[in-house]
């Protein structure tokens, strides 16, 4: 199949999957009710049952599918950028210890204050924790400029261990039942999606999109190696640092709302390079599309597989990812990585 056809097919799947995600969930709602909820303009004149249906479709499912699209796209784009910047195929958005930083922030709040400051308490604590961890990585990277992209990976690993240890100390010192909440931050979930917190995810996605729109040629130059990039008028170190800052910010926005959702940022760029090529102007939008599709589909599975209970979505993305890679390796197809 020609690359453009693959992308067109993927793009066509998106609205279908969106509609399916709105119609299915932990409770059964007839699709006619879903439609009427979406097109009706307000609560006025609805009976209690219809108002409840409308709240589920419009205030729970709709923001949730939009969050899935935004987070999936952001993680996939961040993964593509980081794999370029670090020249490491295993780089993913949680490289900077962002996940363990966010978990540490969240667990600190869970252990000491609970939700005393309202619904934004946990997202903001997670955001702050994630950013502190990312800042630590950037600081370490700054201390050793010009020593190659591998340094970033090592610094990220160090931060992951540091904040992982901190999280476990907090869990141990606090109430043991808080340990169950840590699970959310390590496996992710989209259940907290609301209209008022969607802008945070949107900001992350837009920041990455804008960065790529401006810098895609410089990023392409980076692929050819630092010397070539330099001769093309690109400062590799500076660009690398910019990529780190913008992806850290965007990923932290995602983690604050949805926890850590693995695989999307790692695998999607590898898959899309096969059809979209290496150049960022085509690759990054293609990644955003597949990332959105993948997370939307995974969340749908997470919601219906054990309804009315919800699986953490990270379990689904990890399973799909593992199955996919095993399948590819089994076929010994053209190189996966």
């Amino acid at each position: 199949m020609k690359p453009w056809r693959v992308h067109a097919a993927l793009a066509a799947c998106l609205p279908l999957l969106l509609l399916l995600s709105l119609s299915l969930g932990s409770t059964h709602i007839a699709s006619s009710h879903v439609w009427s909820s979406l097109v009706s303009s307000g609560d006025a004149g609805l009976n209690a049952a219809d108002a409840a249906t409308r709240a589920i479709v419009v205030d729970l499912r709709l923001p949730r599918v939009l969050l899935a699209v935004l987070v999936g796209a952001t993680l996939a784009m961040a993964g593509a950028l980081l794999q370029t910047a670090t020249r490491n195929d295993l780089a993913d958005p949680f490289l900077f210890g962002l996940s363990s930083g966010a978990a540490a922030g969240a667990v600190a709040v869970i252990s000491f204050t609970g939700e005393r400051f309202g619904v934004w308490t946990l997202p903001l604590a997670a955001l702050a924790g994630g950013l502190v961890a990312a800042a630590g990585v950037l600081l370490l990277e700054q201390r050793s400029p010009g020593q190659g992209a591998e340094r970033i990976v090592l610094a990220g690993l160090a931060m992951s261990f540091l904040f992982g240890a901190l999280t476990h100390v907090l869990v141990f010192a606090g109430d043991q039942r808080a340990a169950h909440s840590v699970l959310f931050w390590s496996l992710g979930g989209l259940g907290v999606a609301r209209w008022d917190n969607l802008p945070l995810a949107l900001a992350g996605a837009l920041a990455l999109g804008a960065f790529v729109a401006v810098k895609h040629r410089s990023l392409d130059a980076l692929l050819a190696g630092d010397e070539v990039a330099h001769s093309l008028g690109v400062a590799p170190q500076r660009l690398r640092r910019q990529v780190l800052v913008v992806t850290a910010l965007a990923t932290a926005c995602c983690v604050a709302l949805a926890g850590v959702i693995g695989f999307v940022g790692l695998m999607v760029p590898h898959l899309m390079r096969r059809t979209a090529g290496l150049l960022h102007a085509a690759l990054v939008p293609a990644c955003a599309l597949l990332g959105a599709l993948l997370l939307l589909g995974s969340d749908l599975v997470a919601r219906v597989a054990m309804a009315p209970q919800e699986l953490p979505v990270g379990i689904v993305t990890a399973s799909i990812g593992a199955a996919f890679v095993i399948g590819l390796l089994w076929q010994r197809g053209p190189d996966v990585a």
Binding site: S26, T53, A55, E115, F172, D175, Q176, Q309
Partner: protein, 320 residues
């Protein structure tokens, strides 16, 4: 005796009439914040076995539209199922926000880590956005703030009275609580009042380190009401891990083993204790002094009263 019961019957009937005319709105304390209820709930959803039993004790079935979090963890006995009647279980573990909205709940009775977790999709704040008030189990308030008060029987009494007030059945709740207080008073003082209270260890689970009840957890209150003392009541939390060393050093004289009602009963827990090099030296394990209590007996709920009576009987049998 008959006359006494008859009198109580009249009292109940009178109070019920007074209760049904109770004036709404009512305001009750909810983890140190006021919760205002404008009318008695007609479609309440109640989480977990212990809180459902509180509601059933008040006869609130007609005002309940569903329960959650029962079969995911517990085997409810036939008596419970019979009293629950046709009220469906909406989710076997924690409910999602969608489930509660679909049930058109007008009140959610749950607690932190009893159906809700901080930062989750179902919390008092997220439910309030959809106009659903949340009555929070007082024992669980330790997770919502820095205060970690010691557990007492007032946790149960207070929650029953709040539940009664919210459902317009305050008088019925007061009668029940008065009966419970009487039952515990009837246990009388400890026989050996001068001796130190019996040292009791609550064993929930854990092989490498035990999971047990701290100062803010209900078992501390139950043990004290029966005249004993929880040896881990110096932990300022509700449920937590401690170490075998710390437990063995305090030489527990009596054990409360959690009966998960999974068929094995307390025998598996007892086997772990007997195999442990330090624990098997303790008085309680050597003499096999233990009692098995169910989840509903160890979490705030009507079954607490019977649990205290069982404990008191066991303590008195040891002359304490």
């Amino acid at each position: 005796m008959t006359r006494r019961w008859l009198g109580l019957g009249w009292l109940l009937a009178g109070l019920w009439l007074a209760g049904s005319a109770a004036a709404f709105p009512v305001t009750v304390d909810n983890c140190s914040t006021p919760l205002r209820i404008d009318a008695a709930p007609q479609r309440a959803v109640i989480h977990d076995l212990n809180m459902t039993e509180m509601a059933l004790a008040l006869g609130l079935q007609a005002q309940m539209t569903g329960v959650t979090g029962i079969t995911g963890w517990h085997k409810a006995d036939a008596g419970f199922k019979a009293r629950l009647g046709a009220i469906p279980e909406l989710a076997s573990k924690y409910p999602t926000l969608e489930v509660l909205l679909a049930a058109r709940a007008d009140l959610f009775f749950a607690g932190w880590y009893y159906g809700m977790k901080p930062g989750g999709d179902v919390t008092p704040a997220t439910l309030a956005r959809h106009g659903i008030p949340t009555l929070v189990l007082t024992e669980s308030c330790v997770h919502a703030g820095a205060q970690r008060p010691r557990a007492t029987m007032e946790l149960l009494y207070g929650d029953m009275l709040r539940l009664g007030a919210v459902f317009g059945q305050r008088a019925r709740a007061e009668v029940l609580v008065a009966q419970w207080r009487q039952r515990l008073q009837a246990l009388g003082p400890r026989p050996a009042a001068s001796a130190a209270p019996l040292r009791v260890f609550v064993y929930d689970s854990g092989e490498d380190k035990p999971f047990t009840a701290g100062a803010a957890a209900m078992p501390t209150a139950l043990i004290e009401a029966a005249g004993g003392r929880n040896i881990t009541d110096d932990m300022p939390t509700s449920w937590a891990h401690t170490s075998w060393e710390a437990v063995a050093a305090r030489d527990p004289e009596f054990l409360i083993l959690l009966d998960y009602q999974d068929g094995t009963g307390p025998s598996r827990l007892m086997a772990t204790l007997q195999a442990h090099p330090a624990m098997r030296q303790t008085r309680a394990v050597k003499d096999q002094r233990f009692i098995a209590l169910r989840y509903a007996e160890l979490t705030p709920g009507p079954a607490n009263i019977e649990a205290v009576e069982k404990l008191a009987r066991a303590f008195r049998a040891l002359g304490r």
